[in-house]
């Protein structure tokens, strides 16, 4: 199929005969490497500038003979390489030092030693890729569609068994006859004129855009994708490692076969105290039975702020921000009494703690919602509220 397509492309091209244009260059072929070196020396020495040498393999000494300026490509490589080093450094530093910190063998997250191989790799990678791209795009001025040298006898030889040189007609010193005699005096085995070529535009259309070609390409793509999907998922399919799936465990929504009662979740042993949950010893008892315990927390700014926060969250909806019983519930719940009453003010902290923990009549218990420390903090804050509403005159004397 592909052969046919390629043939078709060839045909399209052949249909439009190239037309010979003006003289592009005069070229010569030489049989030995030594000859080409001396020729290059001679040509560059005679002041020609627009010329080039083509050899089947890279040759030492040619750039000197051609009097080429030193290429700048090394600097491109250096720059690209150094940016590779920097990039790798930053990448590793970011990944293991900041974004995804992982403790490995107790070592520091970021360390230069294990980053060096990666820095090295990226240096090489980036400089190599950049060099190739640069070489093609900038130094060789590719991609360009055609060059008069293509499809010439000259080109055939310099890519297999001969060494060639050509001088462009654009060279300011160009003189066809002079150059020809120069070449033959240097011992050229063959001298060619090379003409510009042009193709009739109308006849050629870009075969890449041919409907059949594109269609075939997409077709092949789809077939390959389907075939590889089936090959990988069915033909060559190996069951994945899934032993972990089959273990002696109770799946959700199913009965335990191990325990008689069928529950997989077991109840803790009677009297178990969960970590961090100290049971309240006066639970359900009458107020008068509460034994006084002092507030275990110190009065500090942080504690008071914590108390205020929790009071505002848990108590203020019913008791109001100032504890005056100015509920925000608009009568949907019995309005609690003020917390500034003589009674509550003279209560010990333990009594208030009892009310919060145990609840009182319609006020529910807040044992589950508020942690012990937070309850004590609320009490400290409540004392501050009370003092602020019932300040003795001495507070205003501004001592």
């Amino acid at each position: 199929m592909f052969g046919r397509i390629l043939n078709k492309i060839d045909e399209e091209f052949l249909k439009s005969e190239p037309r010979k244009g003006e003289l592009f260059a005069v070229s010569a072929l030489f049989d030995t490497p030594d000859q080409i070196i001396t020729s290059a020396e001679k040509v560059s020495g005679s002041g020609y500038r627009r010329f080039d040498v083509l050899t089947p393999y890279p040759m030492h000494g040619l750039d000197n003979a051609m009097r080429l300026r030193e290429t700048k490509i090394g600097w491109v490589g250096l720059l690209a390489g150094m940016s590779g080093t920097t990039l790798a450094f930053l990448m590793i530093w970011w990944m293991v030092g900041i974004d995804y910190k992982n403790v490995i063998g107790g070592k520091p997250f970021f360390n230069i030693a294990p980053s060096i191989p990666i820095m090295f790799e990226l240096t090489v990678l980036l400089s190599a890729l950049t060099l190739v791209a640069f070489l093609i795009a900038v130094f060789n001025k590719l991609p360009s569609n055609a060059n008069p040298l293509m499809a010439t006898e000259f080109m055939k030889h310099v890519t297999s068994d001969k060494f060639g040189i050509y001088i462009e007609a654009k060279d300011p010193k160009f003189n066809q006859n002079e150059i020809k005699s120069l070449f033959s005096s240097l011992g050229a085995s063959e001298v060619y004129d090379i003409n510009e070529v042009s193709y009739d535009e109308g006849k050629t259309k870009n075969p890449i855009l041919d409907f059949k070609f594109v269609g075939n390409l997409i077709g092949v793509g789809i077939v390959t994708a389907i075939l590889s999907y089936f090959t990988l998922n069915y033909l060559l399919f190996l069951p994945p490692f899934n032993w972990m799936h089959h273990q002696a465990k109770v799946l959700p929504q199913s009965e335990s076969k191990f325990f008689n009662d069928g529950f997989s979740m077991r109840k803790p042993v009677e009297g178990t105290v969960a970590r961090g949950f100290i049971p309240y010893e006066f639970k359900g008892m009458h107020d008068s039975l509460v034994v006084e315990t002092p507030n275990p927390l110190p009065v500090t700014k942080e504690i008071l702020e914590k108390g205020k926060k929790n009071f505002d969250i848990y108590c203020s909806p019913c008791h109001g921000y100032y504890g005056k019983g100015d509920s925000r519930l608009r009568g949907q719940f019995p309005v609690p009494p003020t917390l500034h009453s003589e009674k509550v003010r003279s209560w010990k902290d333990a009594n208030i703690y009892h009310v919060i923990t145990n609840g009182q009549n319609v006020m529910p218990s807040y044992e589950k919602q508020i942690s012990r420390d937070d309850r004590w903090a609320i009490i400290h804050y409540l004392r501050v509220l009370q003092r602020s509403q019932n300040a003795p005159d001495s507070d205003f004397e501004g001592k």
Binding site: H60, G61, D63, N64, E70, G74, G105, G106, K107, A113, P114, I116, P117
Partner: protein, 388 residues
């Protein structure tokens, strides 16, 4: 080749004075601090092994890979390789110092040390001596036959000598790798008998090749500038010397870093202590200096293409690399002796004096007998025509 100058007799005189001075310093050091003198001597010996055996390997390498660029310089490398037979004499005094150098030669220590006990089938004086003798003899044999073939070719230019040497070096190269590893492990790694590193041999080998290329380079540069070399040898030929020196230096850094990274990663106390010791006290500065002197500075200086054809620059960088190798060996050997921190004083001056003095005498004596380039080697013409 008669129009080429011979080395003047003053080379012998100067070399002799340096050698004698070096030996005197070493003897005086032996009287005052015998242990230190033995460490100095081991340092000198290992450096000479580097240059001698390393050069022999380079000669073999040229035959093995069929290199032509190095043919004009091969005689110089061969003269450097002729340190190899001298090593057989040089090693003898070291055997009197085994007790001073190597911890594991002390019976009472081994008896109370589990690790040394289990290593004793390898680390015992008898086997150690057998190994050393085997290595030295092997080097001697290959040195003798390879240089003799090369020498004979100067008379008739017969290609069969080249072919014979190719066969010889094919056999020699694997043996070289084994013997140089054994030498490195025996004479240097066993200074810290508890410690081990499987890459140690390669590390020493890498340094050896750098040092041998550097020695060939500086000798070639000096001989060329003095007018003792065939004038047909052009600057372009030096390019490859610079390149090889540069390339193997990067290899050395690569191996050194590999060793470091693996030890760092595994973080096993039985491996790390060796590096930690070299990071304590003033040894830390030696370690950092080694990194810069042996790798970073030469890398930056030699990386450009033009640097390698610049004879003036090579004349600096080749001795620089030799110094770097000496520093490397110092870093490998001396922490066992200078436990508290690096030390350098007059006994260590014997090192440059003996090494340079001995090499000068060898050059004078041998260049009187031989041509300084292999005049009839079939590859010589291609080597001389080498250009960039």
């Amino acid at each position: 080749m008669d129009n080429i100058k011979k080395l003047p007799d003053s080379v012998n005189k100067k070399g002799g004075i340096m050698l004698i001075l070096g030996v005197i310093i070493l003897l005086v050091a032996f009287v005052f601090e015998p242990q230190r003198a033995f460490f100095d001597y081991l340092w000198i010996y290992m450096f000479l092994v580097s240059i001698g055996v390393g050069s022999l390997a380079l000669v073999g390498l040229e035959y093995l890979v069929g290199a032509t660029w190095s043919t004009p310089f091969r005689r110089i490398t061969e003269i450097l390789a002729s340190i190899t037979p001298v090593l057989i004499i040089l090693v003898i005094p070291l055997f009197f110092g085994l007790h001073d150098l190597f911890h594991w030669t002390h019976h009472e220590v081994v008896e109370s040390d589990k690790i040394l006990q289990s290593k004793s089938p390898y680390l015992n004086v008898e086997f150690f001596s057998i190994r050393t003798a085997f290595c030295l003899l092997l080097w001697l044999v290959f040195f003798f036959f390879m240089t003799r073939n090369s020498q004979k070719q100067d008379l008739d230019g017969d290609v069969t000598y080249t072919k014979r040497n190719i066969t010889l070096s094919t056999v020699f190269t694997p043996f070289f790798v084994i013997t140089i590893t054994v030498t490195a492990v025996d004479w240097m790694m066993s200074l810290e008998p508890h410690w081990f590193s499987t890459i140690y041999g390669v590390y020493y080998f890498a340094g050896t090749v750098v040092a041998s290329f550097a020695a060939t380079t500086i000798a070639a540069v000096l001989l060329k500038q003095g007018g003792y070399l065939d004038p047909r040898i052009k600057n372009d030929s030096f390019y490859s010397l610079g390149t090889m020196m540069f390339g193997f230096n990067v290899f050395w850094a690569y191996i050194g870093f590999s060793q470091y990274l693996l030890i760092w990663y595994a973080d096993l106390p039985e491996e790390t202590f060796w590096l930690i010791h070299r990071w304590e006290g003033s040894w830390k500065f030696v370690s950092i200096a080694l990194l810069f002197v042996h790798f970073i500075i030469p890398f930056l200086v030699l990386v450009g293409r033009r640097a390698k054809t610049n004879i003036g620059l090579l004349k600096i960088m080749a001795p620089w690399m030799l110094f770097a190798h000496a520093l490397d060996l110092y870093w490998l050997i001396f922490p066992t002796y200078f436990k508290e921190g690096a030390g350098f004083s007059w006994p260590e001056l014997s090192f440059p004096l003996i090494v340079i003095g001995l090499t000068m005498i060898l050059f004078k004596v041998l260049s009187d007998k031989k041509n300084l380039i292999p005049v009839k080697d079939p590859k010589l013409q291609a080597g001389l025509e080498f250009h960039l």
